[in-house]
Symmetry: C2
Subunit: 363 residues, 2 copies
Amino acid sequence: MDPATFRAEFPVLDRLAYLNAGTTGPAPQRALDAVRERLELEGREGRSGQAYFSSTIGLANSVRAGYAAVLGCDPEQVAVTGSTTDGVNTVLSGLDLRPGEEILTSDEEHPGLLAPLARARRNRGVHLREVPFAELANEVGSSTRLVACSHVSWVSGQIADVAALTGTGVPLLLDAAQALGAIPVDVGELGCDYYACSGQKWLCGPEGSGCLFVRRDRLEQLEIPWPSFASLADPGRPLDFEPAEGAARLDHGFPAGVRNAWALAALEVLSAAGWEWVHEQAATLAARLAEMLAERGLEVLPRGRSTLVSVLPHHRDPAEEVGRLAERGILVRHIPGRDLIRVSVGAWNSEGELERLVELLTD
Amino acid sequence: MDPATFRAEFPVLDRLAYLNAGTTGPAPQRALDAVRERLELEGREGRSGQAYFSSTIGLANSVRAGYAAVLGCDPEQVAVTGSTTDGVNTVLSGLDLRPGEEILTSDEEHPGLLAPLARARRNRGVHLREVPFAELANEVGSSTRLVACSHVSWVSGQIADVAALTGTGVPLLLDAAQALGAIPVDVGELGCDYYACSGQKWLCGPEGSGCLFVRRDRLEQLEIPWPSFASLADPGRPLDFEPAEGAARLDHGFPAGVRNAWALAALEVLSAAGWEWVHEQAATLAARLAEMLAERGLEVLPRGRSTLVSVLPHHRDPAEEVGRLAERGILVRHIPGRDLIRVSVGAWNSEGELERLVELLTD
């Protein structure tokens, strides 16, 4: 894949050094076009009738298959959701958690994981224990019912030692917000039980998109926590509460055509470039950025081969520094409470953009 | 308001007699334009940075205020959701329901209400009792913890006797999927406790939109059932689980700019026409349709002053009849299991469309 050709898919890059896909990814032009086409259909044909419902269901199936391809699993193991948080809530609300059972988590987790964990503590009486990210596997104990942590830390870009975690035999829920689309993922090889993902970050999908992988042998252990018409095998007999086939029973939110048209087109842009190339390009650029920053004397947090680079701004207020960079056309973010600037590097970024960032951070 | 001017807001009406807003409303051109404008912004400016987040939050606030205006309440009593089902799940998961408590519902409820009720029966051990829609208030007993039913029956277009229901003193959850936007609503006057609404039907919003009214004195009794970043007073301290102000703590789904731009523009089209006019025009047209059908000897189900007209097709299979009408450019729906054709009549419809429908149903 030619980097310049790939970059040209994303109109925002004409104007900005967009380095914040860890919050929300750049929107591909082809995804915007797909939404415009869908709007045309919804406006002109009306949002009803056989043809309309067929196209809506077709899009939903294609999006599920698209997520499954990136995850490395079968579509029936994928629930289509609106966010990573939806996936986390689905697992925590669906499990029969008991008072006194422990959930182990880390000190580098996002509120999107911690808020559902806090609810489980409040209303299920589970014991919540936070340990350093790198220590998770060592801290698993006999009362640990679940480990819930990031695959890639949103704070530092460190990558969890998933082999050590699955080696403990305790069920594992991974928050994949900074992983799916960013680094190579094969949920079968990872061996995790649940994998909750965002669609709008590294998959460049619309706001309010995402997916949840549930390992086949775990599906029947999850109650349907937020049932709708679509959760049921036979919506004509809702009181039977017989679940629909596969992880689709856990789908969250309406399968809106606008959302799915965007999500699907974005997945197609990325997979057409080749996921291997996308991952390798992003990891190489991110590693190069970390190296340049360190060479210029800035402190970069220990990280893995991920797409996030977190740096301590040199004697400067990080929020102000983020604002100053934005005025110069470079979009990054500040991690509140940690005095960090986090840079998200995608395959769509260029070495030139990274050099400009380094210049400004060290001027 | 001039009916022809109002009709011209909805492109689908150029081609079709669109009579299925009870499933999904017609999309106003101005809403489609608002989404196109938003897409332009998301593509060009990038989905990040101060200006972007301000516009996203601004849209979210405006949509909440827009729903509040239609509901007749304050914005802080409104949670923005993705569907009526989200609202129902929020209430049923948020209440501290106990085994043996009774939830009373009717025999004319939609799977979107019944599926969450079935879950409450399964995992909270509540007793669920279904009674005829018109008998609900009489059937409230000493163990009834909650009445959960439609404001307007999706089957028949009957309207619940809300005064009789609130008169029982038992908390009342209304499924307003066929009510908000369709008939005059003032949640304060109604006196219900919870009012769960769809955005994509009679409010002509996008798929995956809706709202939930929670009466002020009921808010603290609801736990946050699906917490996210946005549910919390201080997302920097998620483990404190301190709820955000007002019903916004119960917001469901990402406040996507695309969704909210559409929802807001659609609310503006309807409120600019005048809600009083919209409601009166739709009710008058629907009553006229029911009258014409009865005059031609078709059996129309007993209904209220609503926007739904359900009719038994004369010696014909209702699903086939719906298909035959669709081929002739008239979109209505079949209610499965009931052998009914349901016609949804909006202020955007014309008497000419209704006459064509009557001709075809009786030819």
